[in-house]
């Protein structure tokens, strides 16, 4: 009998092998493993895990069904709260959300909620189990801008309530960050993302790709000319940030967005696709978030020696624990308490990166201890490629072309948390466009809030 204090281990692709391919790292649970893990859930009356979930899935509820082997019923419970469970089971930071609140975690390991969610969602994808759609259409037209996690969730929720929803996507593929940002080895595109989107389509949601709102048409025109009664803006984060250090425009310096977009969306890692990618032989990724881990592990898979350069210590790494663990297993080298000061170039190409050692001082506004440079500790890392993964700043395309839509001092769209209500009537917003770069699940929570707000607004109309 397994140790009840510990999670049922999940099978993974061998670290050495997976470091050279783009196939999914984690295999997930099979039914036996899932049922065994489900037994560990003690079905708390006051389930703290639900409060830890941004979309408030009835976690003990679905786990009880898994325990009994009723996977289809488990899925139906889950689908009431999330449009993308197969995605969330893979990319949510469970350790700081549901699993972080799990009572089992006090003495041992929390219930492996993420892996159970993934198992149920994958089972539903494989067996073509559909979420319940609306019984009646109510005839109200709603436009959703962006087909990322916020937009898909909002569209799915509204369609279930009977709304006539059209999603406008700027890129040529649906999914937003799920397709351009998160790599195949963490979130398979055809097997998971496309299938989840198909489920949203089956709810009756219409999709139009290649429409850049703010350019091809505006929010005002959607309302005034195309007959949409409400609009949800889930347009994502936007412009990549750079450090502003010398040499940053040299050839071989990329934003993580560019590197990952070329590899994930344009599939540059696959020779049969036309988009090129200068993969690099020795790569330094600057930053410590999930995006930095994704970029570093992508570079590794493209054959490079891959380094993470992060100015704080391991404790402050904002990436999911699992991603850091996987990156290390695969051979990514971590340079912690290190900050770049200059990118060295020759003939316009990167030849190295001058870094300075850091130490931690007093906590700053974020509550994390502030990194301070150690004078005279500069040294050079020899690299031919530098990937800047420092976050993004909001894209002004929509806010600058929508009358009455206000932004805050960081240029993020102002919207309330409960309903996603903006300063413009009938216009709701959520996700990175409102909060700045955050997580898939927070965007989904904001998508749900927006759907609630729009439903309340239009049912009164």
């Amino acid at each position: 009998m397994a140790d009840v204090m510990k999670k049922v281990p999940v099978r993974e692709q061998d670290a050495k092998e997976r470091a050279t391919n783009f196939k999914e790292v984690c295999y997930g649970y099979n039914k036996e493993e899932a049922m065994e893990e489900a037994v560990r859930c003690i079905n708390c009356k006051n389930a703290r895990c639900i409060a830890g979930c941004p979309v408030a899935i009835d976690i003990p509820g679905f786990i009880q069904e898994v325990k009994a082997g009723n996977i289809e019923d488990a899925y139906k419970i889950m689908a009431k709260s999330t449009a993308l469970p197969a995605v969330c089971g893979r990319v949510c930071p469970q350790e700081s959300q549901c699993e972080g609140k799990c009572i089992r975690g006090i003495k041992g390991e929390p219930v492996s909620i993420g892996k159970l969610e993934r198992f149920v969602a994958d089972y539903a994808l494989e067996n073509d189990i559909k979420p319940d759609g609306a019984e009646h259409k109510n005839g109200h037209k709603v436009a959703v801008i962006g087909s990322g996690p916020a937009g898909l969730t909002c569209a799915g929720d509204l369609a279930k309530l009977g709304y006539d929803v059209t999603v406008f996507e700027a890129l040529h593929e649906l999914g937003g960050v799920l397709v351009y940002g998160i790599p195949e080895f963490r979130l398979p595109k055809e097997l998971v993302v496309q299938k989840e989107i198909n489920k949203v389509k089956e709810l009756g949601v219409k999709f139009e790709t290649n429409v850049v709102i703010g350019k091809a048409t505006t929010v005002d025109q959607l309302i005034d000319e195309e007959g949409f009664e409400a609009v949800f803006i889930g347009s994502g984060a936007g412009l990549p940030m750079f450090m502003g250090i010398p040499g940053e425009n040299a050839n071989g310096v990329f934003s993580a967005n560019e590197y990952l977009t070329r590899s994930n969306l344009m599939k540059a890692f696959d020779d049969s696709y036309d988009t090129p990618l200068v993969a690099g032989k020795k790569v330094a990724v600057v930053g410590g978030g999930n995006v930095a881990m994704d970029a570093a592990r992508t570079a590794l898979r493209l054959g490079a020696e891959s380094n993470i350069v992060y100015r704080r210590s391991e404790e402050e790494l904002p990436a999911r624990v699992e991603e850091v663990h996987h990156a290390k297993e695969e051979g990514v080298i971590f340079h912690l308490l290190t900050n770049p000061v200059e990118i060295l170039e020759e003939d316009g190409w990167v030849t190295g990166m001058k870094c300075i050692k850091m130490e931690l001082g007093e906590p700053d506004a974020s509550g994390r201890r502030r990194p301070i440079p150690i004078e005279g500790s500069e040294y050079v890392i020899e690299v031919d490629t530098v990937i800047m993964s420092l976050g993004t700043s909001p894209n002004p395309l929509i806010s600058s072309t929508t009358k009455g839509l206000e932004v805050n001092k960081w240029k993020c769209i102002i919207a309330d948390e409960e309903f996603g209500k903006t300063t413009k009537e009938g216009v709701y917003a959520g996700g990175d466009a409102v909060t700045g770069a955050a997580t898939v699940i927070l965007a989904m929570g904001a998508g749900r809030a927006g759907a609630r707000g729009i439903d309340e607004y239009l049912s009164k109309k």
């Binding site: 700027a170 890129l171 040529h172 351009y180 790709t209 290649n210 429409v211 850049v212 350019k215 091809a216 048409t217 936007g238 412009l239 990549p240 750079f242 940053e248 425009n249 050839n251 071989g252 990329f254 934003s255 967005n257 560019e258 977009t261 070329r262 969306l265 344009m266 599939k267 020779d271 049969s272 696709y273 036309d274 988009t275 090129p276 990618l277 200068v278 003939d347 316009g348 894209n395 002004p396 395309l397």
Partner: protein, 295 residues
């Protein structure tokens, strides 16, 4: 899918297509660009808009075959389709927002180089339709590479054509023509130069001396074209600008052309390799200097 309603070869390696894209045609303005993607596996290729027909819902694009993707694009015929066609992207030319009466008082000079004639055309046409005739210099390597000359004649004030080899019009570079016009006493308030980066660089070096404010349209490496990837970043004065959302038009006297040209070579080897693979197919055995003949 976006249907090609017209496809023709304008000159050696230069092609024109009219593409059905009603949303783009309804909203585009001179100076903006589109991104086209041939098929499932194709690249996203940014191209400046050459003309548009709001009623027919079509956009005219002109492109030169420079790599494997544009080569494949040139094989398409009327009736074929692009998988994706995204736009309008970037900002419209500044004059679109200016007061027409003020504009009429300005003397404008347009300088077009090679395939850059295509994006210059809708600007000159727009001004012509608003009652403003501007002088246009069009330059090409040789007579056979001149494009859109007839169309340009209809909308330009004075049209000066230059060929590097003297096979047509003024013999010499566009810069020598600008110098000549100034020597003859012409003066302009603003210059718009669009063409290869090297041409724009030299036009700007000259117009700086002539104290002639100059706008250029930049065409750097680009992926999404909506401000997401930062591949198209340029040094403009002491700022970093993204050509796709801040441009594509910039003050030419502030653009760091040398850096921009270096950045443009970033994927040259990759592109060359793809081109050789396309041309030689399975018979490709080295020569691209990159793959050792293995693939």
């Amino acid at each position: 899918m976006y249907k090609i309603v017209k496809a023709e070869k304008l000159a050696h390696q230069i092609f024109l297509m009219d593409v059905e894209a009603p949303r783009v045609a309804r909203h585009c303005e001179p100076g903006q660009f589109i991104i086209v993607k041939l098929d499932e596996k194709g690249e996203r290729i940014p191209l400046t808009i050459c003309d548009y027909d709001r009623e027919a819902g079509t956009i005219t694009i002109v492109f030169q075959t420079v790599g494997a993707s544009t080569e494949k694009m040139s094989w398409l015929k009327a009736g074929d389709s692009f998988r994706d066609f995204i736009g309008p992207l970037g900002c419209a030319s500044e004059f679109v927002e200016e007061d027409i009466e003020m504009l009429k008082k300005k003397k404008m000079l347009f300088v077009a180089g090679g395939v850059g004639t295509a994006p210059v055309y809708p600007q000159v046409k727009w001004l012509h339709e608003h009652g403003i005739d501007v002088d246009v210099i069009v330059g090409a390597k040789t007579k056979d590479m001149l494009i859109l000359t007839e169309q340009m004649e209809k909308v330009a004030g004075n049209l000066y054509i230059c060929t590097d080899d003297g096979t047509y019009g003024h013999a010499g570079m566009v810069t020598t023509k600008i110098e000549q016009l100034y020597q003859e006493g012409s003066k302009y308030d603003v210059c718009v130069a669009i063409g290869p980066m090297i041409m724009m660089k030299f036009v700007c070096l000259l117009t700086k001396k002539l104290e002639l404010p100059t706008i250029v349209s930049m065409n750097p490496v680009m992926v999404d074209g909506t401000g997401m990837c930062g591949a198209c970043r340029l040094q403009v004065g002491d700022e970093i600008k993204f050509a796709c959302v801040d441009g594509p038009e910039f003050d030419g006297h502030l653009v760091d052309f040398d850096q921009a040209m270096k950045r443009q070579t970033m994927y040259k080897t990759e592109e060359g390799r793809a081109m050789l693979k396309l041309q030689e197919g399975d018979t490709h055995h080295g020569g691209c200097g990159n793959c050792g003949g293995d693939n």
